[in-house]
């Protein structure tokens, strides 16, 4: 998995690319740190270029949400498609994290 962060006026948009699996633990730790450090209150994860996510990937997204919550920030998932959208649905993540189209 790779990612890029774009800081906009109202929100930070993190675009994830590739496959997010248990093996990406180190990258997710770095990403969570970077989301915590930028000044923007609203942190958006753009999933449109993410091809595959596994259960550990979902777990790491939930950790990111919890850490943003602790930092007083809003955490949103956006534009999931294909397999990623399906797993988010099956695991009922929308109950825990806001998901935008």
């Amino acid at each position: 998995m790779d990612y890029g962060i774009e800081l906009r006026d109202q929100e930070a948009v993190v675009r994830l690319r590739g496959r997010l699996t248990f093996n990406d633990h180190a990258k997710l730790r770095t990403l969570i740190g970077e989301m915590g450090q930028n000044k923007l209150r609203r942190q958006v994860l753009d999933l449109s270029s993410l091809e595959f996510v596994d259960s550990a990937g979902i777990g790491m997204l939930l950790i990111a949400r919890e850490e943003m919550d602790r930092a007083g920030k809003q955490f949103v998932l956006r534009s999931a498609a294909g397999q990623v959208k399906r797993v988010l649905t099956v695991a009922q993540i929308a109950k825990i994290v806001p998901i935008e189209d």
């Binding site: 496959r19 699996t21 248990f22 093996n23 633990h25 180190a26 997710l28 730790r29 969570i32 595959f52 596994d54 259960s55 550990a56 979902i58 777990g59 790491m60 939930l62 950790i63 949400r65 919890e66 850490e67 294909g82 397999q83 399906r86 797993v87 099956v90 695991a91 009922q92």
Partner: protein, 275 residues
């Protein structure tokens, strides 16, 4: 008596003897010629120049000291090595150094090849090697080359295979606990445990074995049976827990697969998929 014709197909005769796949040769990408020739003798099988033809081939993975500078991931990063006629992927057991006793009853290569012959697809790799190879996706490639899988079903089967393989490697062979609390400290603990255990030569040498059989099922469909076996401490399946960061994998597998059995104290999982 049924009206069965006396002419059995070659495949039926092979199945009657428990043999599904009769290997015609093997590929050993990246292996030095002298090591390759010793393995050829051990298996009574000729080396093949490339993955071509229709007769089944086994791939011997060059791992560890034989993997070269780029490692096993680069050596195996060719789609043709995961497509027919390749039907088995085996990491040869390490040869004991001259003058030392082999520690423990390591399986020999001929035994692994015989096991592979009892399956339609077969993998037998160390944890260190399997961890580098995105096996769920590779297995899906091999499976869907035998029986087309499309759209949502393809994604689902890939996820189920990936989750089962990850469980066997991370929680089974490496004995790393899942992430329980939703905190970055727990993520750090997971990272540290995973790195520590992978660096432990005994744990990294534990094997994962995947055997796939594809059989006729009702209505002209086919049933794929995938058995994944690890050498970890096993586990007892508990109730669903979706509060933490971990614990969803087995539920996802159960939702996707048409059959799910856990055996041998949690060291073997058997999945069935109607294709």
């Amino acid at each position: 008596m049924t009206g069965r014709t006396p002419q059995k197909t070659a495949r039926e005769m092979l199945q009657a003897t428990g043999c599904r796949t009769r290997f015609a040769g093997f590929l050993a990408p990246g292996l030095p010629a002298d090591r390759r020739d010793r393995l050829a003798q051990a298996m009574w099988l000729p080396p093949a120049a490339e993955p071509a033809g229709t007769a089944p081939l086994a791939v011997l993975l060059a791992a560890g000291e034989f993997a070269g500078e780029l490692g096993v991931r680069a050596a195996m990063d060719t789609d043709a090595l995961w497509l027919p006629p390749v039907a088995a992927w085996i990491e040869p057991p390490v040869e004991p150094a001259a003058g030392t006793d082999a520690s423990g009853p390591a399986p020999d290569l001929a035994t692994l090849l015989a096991e592979a012959g009892g399956s339609d697809l077969y993998l037998n790799l160390t944890t260190a090697t399997a961890h580098d190879l995105q096996l769920g996706g590779r297995l899906l490639t091999a499976l869907s080359a035998r029986h087309p899988l499309e759209g949502e079903r393809r994604n689902d089967v890939e996820l189920a295979l990936h989750e089962a393989v990850s469980n066997a490697l991370v929680h089974g062979n490496l004995g790393v606990d899942g992430m329980k609390e939703l905190s970055v400290q727990e993520l750090e603990r997971f990272s540290r445990d995973l790195a520590d255990r992978l660096a432990d030569p005994l744990l990294a040498a534990r094997r994962i074995v995947i055997a796939v059989r594809i059989d006729p099922a009702e209505d002209g469909r086919r049933l794929a049976t995938v058995e994944i076996t690890d050498e970890g401490n096993g586990f007892t399946p508990g109730p669903r827990s979706s509060a933490g960061a971990s614990g969803r994998g087995l539920d996802l597998i159960g939702d996707i697969a048409d059959g799910l059995e856990i055996e041998n104290g949690g060291r073997r999982i058997r999945l069935r998929f109607l294709l």
